[in-house]
Assembly symmetry: C2
Homo-oligomer: 351 residues x 2
């Protein structure tokens, strides 16, 4: 066991504060990592505040982790000490089901082990995330970070990036396709970059005229103001794919109507607490698809990092001192960040 | 113009009664058809009673039409007098959009012209359906009925058949797949037959234990009683496809949970008036698809007739004297028909 320094929420109202805890002694297949950067995901806020009613306190959030290998177990083959690596939303799975066999560990039949607020399958201990100075993770759930990537801007690729990349790849987005990205936050701005890099014509749907210039800067060819019924009507049957990054209740039906025959509306943000009501005629009448996608498997998480290195894609970030994490959460709730906070973990030393 | 004998509803409360009306003089691309048989679809009941608020009275229902060619226009190439032919749910479309170009006339950008309760695109006259002794239809929307098919049992293939066949083909159902068919009425029993003929392992979901023996007779390998939570739970993540033929409000979520990763829940019955609420986690958590499908295009309507001839598939029908049509509607509302009424149009002579 080793003593670890981090930040945790200890109750629904506590906010985040410095927290000392134990990490397990490394097992033979484990990689020990000194954390350099950790992205801040909306999910972290929900777990810290127990918005979904399933938080076990104390919780150490963080699942967009970049760091350096400090030690490897005897069975580790792919990683060496000093190498830069990443850890995303999961740290284990059953490794035996059909999904795991296909490298789709996120859809593990028994459920993946989340990077935080989970329970280790082997020792029954709780998992703690990346708002900390180090982590120990089984080799299968560690990815290599290409040298060409800036380690800080790469951190959000581990969640915001893979979550938007995976469905675009799975559903075959490419040249000649018209893709609509709904919402431009951490996920949405990455979705715009990926869709464009894959060769598609990209339109951003946003409620706010003020985001138009920014959307074009990110690579959007067109912008539709989703609150303008005329703009929405003019887009009827235009798109092959919609990548819907909005994690709060919204009416899907006006968006569905902008899909062409055989078009697919892909949800990547869990819509809670209110689920969408879908007019069946909007699906049946044009053979449209409503679907969803959850992060990505480990092979694809490696793939997206390599893709980003090859195409020069990085997440737009604002660097954060961990001592300001509670203020950062408040700003994120107001959408006041372009587009992801990334914690510089060296600041833990001052905490 | 020619005088036609049929049955129509003239108001919401009238029921159906004998009705004389005019058909257009044939145009050069028209096929004139003497109707031998017409299937009775649930949609007919809804239009006769104006359940959907879009009936223009008088309405002559009927879109599962089988008959003999009595005349062809000068531009007709594929049909000759005396040939047995079929007409389904549509009699025209724009013929110019991307969907029409692909033989997906049912998804026509401008909307297909329905066989009844529609408006002819050329002369602006109303369309009247197959509860009548004859019909005039443009060649493109007429299909050939193979000699091997019994003309009466073939009639429902024009709607119940193509509606279930098309999505199974489009989504690639075949050997090695597990298909669940939800509901066993006119559509459901055809879905079971097609899924089996395509090589899939077929399970029927039904609320009623009493349908189990019948489902197995139709070709189902397994039966799940959908009102039994234990049976539903035991089927978690089992199916690759669900063909959902239930046209009334029902909770989709328990069915979605029986889909494996990447599985597709296909709606073929418009769910009205209440639309389904979908828990987004049931889609996102396993990358499942909720979709829908509307009848089929003209090339595929010909294909399904040929497929039925090749595989000896026919609809289970009860032959109906048109004078008993109102009684038949009452029985259909109670689900009391195995599985489709087909009107013997010779009985019009006695009406």
């Amino acid at each position: 066991m080793s003593e670890v320094k981090g930040y945790a929420a200890t109750s629904e109202l506590s906010g985040l504060a410095p927290f000392q805890f134990q990490r397990r002694a490394p097992r033979p297949d484990d990689v020990s990592i000194e954390i350099e950067y950790c992205g801040v995901c909306h999910t972290d806020i929900h777990f810290a505040a127990n918005d979904w009613g399933r938080t076990n306190y104390p919780v150490v959030p963080g699942h967009e982790i970049i760091g350096r290998v400090t030690a490897v177990g005897n069975d580790v083959n792919q990683f060496t000490v000093g190498q830069r690596v990443g850890v995303g939303c999961m740290v284990d799975s059953c490794r035996q089901c059909a999904s795991c066999d296909q490298g789709l560990e996120q859809y593990c039949r028994e459920g993946m082990t989340p990077t935080y607020n989970g329970v280790d399958r082997h020792d029954g201990e709780r998992t703690f995330g990346g708002y900390s100075d180090s982590i120990v993770v089984s080799e299968r759930f560690v990815v290599s970070v290409p040298d060409a990537l800036d380690p800080a801007t790469a951190a959000p690729i581990l969640c915001a990036g893979i979550t938007t990349y995976s469905p675009l790849k799975h559903f075959g987005v490419g040249k000649g396709h018209k893709v609509g990205v709904i919402g431009m936050g951490g996920l949405g701005h990455m979705g715009v970059k990926f869709a464009r890099a894959l060769g598609a014509e990209v339109t951003l749907f946003t409620r706010s005229q003020s985001k138009e210039a920014e959307a074009r800067k990110q690579g959007a060819d067109h912008v539709i103001i989703s609150t303008d019924p005329e703009q929405m009507a003019a887009a009827t049957e235009r798109f092959d794919f919609l990548l819907d990054t909005i994690p709060v209740p919204h009416d899907l039906n006006p968006y569905l109507q902008t899909l062409a025959v055989n078009g697919a509306h892909i949800l990547v943000g869990l819509i809670e607490p209110i689920d969408p009501t879908v007019h069946s005629r909007n699906l049946i009448g044009k053979r449209r698809i409503l679907t969803g996608s959850l992060i990505g498997g480990m092979p694809e998480t490696q793939e997206v990092l390599d893709f980003c290195a090859e195409h020069g894609i990085e997440c737009d970030i604002e660097m954060l001192d961990i001592r300001n994490i509670n203020e950062a959460y408040e700003r994120m709730k107001k959408g006041d960040v372009k587009y992801r906070f990334v914690i510089d973990m060296k600041t833990l030393n001052n905490a």
